[in-house]
């Protein structure tokens, strides 16, 4: 089996910490929290700055965020001149909901004005596959495109799908990641009523007072290339997606199995896929939602999968700085994981003051600290975990 890594040649992100991947890692590493009044919104994003009026009105916010993040990643990877046959460039994006605000609004229109008044553009604006379609249209890509909807694991699975496409040779480059924007009265109600949202509005993963996740929004995109063709064209390789695996709890529709066993299997399988051992891991970017269930089961999973080594490495949660961007989270966190490695920094788990009983790993409370490779080859290895409603567990291995 081909276990080749994918070269990461460009990243982009729009998050509550600002526009661009640099704003994400800079803000988080400095301990800035992008959560205000109980939500993480991308306040610096104004579609008018980056999209034409025509483009913007044909996209819901999730697609706007995703398209701009994709453009940042593509500019970093190869600028305006794609080095590949357009038919060999693919795009797989994660999105859990897509245009739910448009669907909701148009449902109201139908109720009040009748079926004939439902907006002509409802489908193209709301469809969850809008983002990869728009990325392909704008950039002329003609390879396979599509969306993956597995709730909070969506864009981690999109990254895994992209890695596999490169390995089987169905593409030379794949644009992966995801986007989500459901910080709205409706979006908040969906999760609050399911018992997942923090009542306090504070994200404090692994803390004894944690009481749920804080809703965020954003987009995170990576350009993956076949490492040989990336090297041949002298691309600036930022790092690698070295492995990926996914498992399914099959335990409960919304709750994680507290024993973490099936999550641990995903971690172990992802490391095996990357030809790495548990002892090779230098850093874990946790799913770290700040829900009582997740943080306990994730800790159990890390202990099962990494053994004693789990106690020796920094583990932190990007969500503590930006909230939970649902279908975008895996993409945003893959970007923050990569940049943690390239900047050699373990960013803090913000809001963590007193770890809950039994949550005894090193969750990097307080401030950032230097991240040093412990292997002899100087390479840094990280896990990016994504666990979802539905029991989907996805783990991406990222290396320098």
């Amino acid at each position: 089996m081909n276990n080749q890594a994918a070269a990461i040649t460009g990243v982009g992100a729009i998050t509550p910490l600002g526009i661009g991947a640099d704003a994400l890692i800079q803000g988080w590493s400095e301990g800035v929290c992008g959560i205000e009044d109980g939500t993480g919104t991308c306040k610096q994003f104004d579609s008018a700055d980056m999209l034409s009026r025509k483009e913007a009105r044909r996209m819901e916010r999730f697609a706007q965020l995703g398209l701009v993040a994709a453009e940042e990643a593509l500019q970093a990877a190869w600028g305006d001149d794609c080095p590949y046959d357009p038919a060999r460039v693919a795009c797989i994006m994660g999105v859990a909901f897509g245009g739910i605000e448009t669907l909701r609004d148009q449902s109201d229109v139908m109720d009040t004005q009748g079926a004939d008044a439902v907006w002509v553009l409802t489908v193209p604006v709301a469809m969850p596959n809008a983002l990869p379609a728009l990325v392909a249209m704008r950039n002329g890509f003609r390879g396979e495109t599509g969306s993956i909807a597995t709730a909070c694991a969506s864009s981690a699975q999109a990254i895994g799908a992209g890695l596999r496409m490169l390995r089987i040779g169905s593409a030379d480059a794949v644009i992966v990641g995801g986007a989500e924007a459901c910080v709205s009265e409706y979006g908040l109600a969906l999760f609050r009523n399911a018992g997942a949202l923090s009542r306090s509005g504070i994200c404090r993963p692994f803390d004894r007072l944690r009481d749920g996740f804080v809703m965020g929004e954003g987009a995170g995109v990576l350009v993956l290339e076949n490492p040989e063709t990336a090297e041949a064209r002298s691309a600036n390789v930022l790092g690698y997606v070295a492995g990926y695996a996914s498992t399914t709890d099959g335990y409960h529709l919304t709750s994680a199995n507290p024993n973490g066993e099936v999550c641990a299997k995903a971690i172990g399988a992802a490391l095996k896929d990357a030809n790495l051992e548990p002892e090779d891991v230098d850093y874990v970017n946790a799913h770290g939602t700040s829900t009582p269930d997740n943080d306990r089961s994730e800790t159990a999973a890390l202990k099962k999968a990494l053994g004693e080594h789990a106690h020796k490495i920094p583990i932190s949660s990007t969500k503590s700085a930006i909230g939970h961007s649902i279908g975008a989270a895996g993409g945003v966190e893959a970007v923050s994981t990569l940049l943690s490695l390239t900047n050699r920094v373990a960013c803090p788990t913000l809001g963590l003051e007193e770890p809950d009983e039994g949550l005894d790993l090193d969750y990097v409370p307080g401030e950032s600290r230097p991240l040093e490779p412990h292997g002899e080859n100087g390479r840094l290895v990280a896990l990016s975990n994504s666990f979802a409603f539905g029991g989907h567990n996805a783990v991406v291995v990222i290396t320098t």
Binding site: S52, K54, D116, A117, W119, L121
Partner: protein, 84 residues
């Protein structure tokens, strides 16, 4: 919205231009001889225009009304013919 009882050509023409600007077209370029391609007006814009005219003026366009239409003037006439 209740359709206007007896819309005039001027009313409908003005509404078409207003809608196209709302869709993102450059008002300076909205000349009858301009092509839809130049104005970046596509089939979705025309569908949306059709819906607006239906909702506001009671005009019912047919799917093939825009067949062979190249310019904005031709597109407008394809919609205005329902007043004759």
């Amino acid at each position: 919205m209740e359709p206007t009882a007896t819309p005039t050509r001027d009313q409908i023409s003005a509404r078409i231009l207003e809608a196209l600007v709302e869709f993102g077209a450059d008002p300076e370029k909205l000349q009858p001889e301009a092509t839809l391609e130049e104005l970046d007006i596509d089939s979705l814009d025309l569908f949306e225009l059709g819906q607006i005219l239906n909702q506001e003026f009671g005009i019912e366009l047919n799917p093939d009304d825009f067949e062979g239409v190249v310019t904005l003037g031709q597109a407008s006439e394809a919609m205005l013919k329902y007043l004759e």
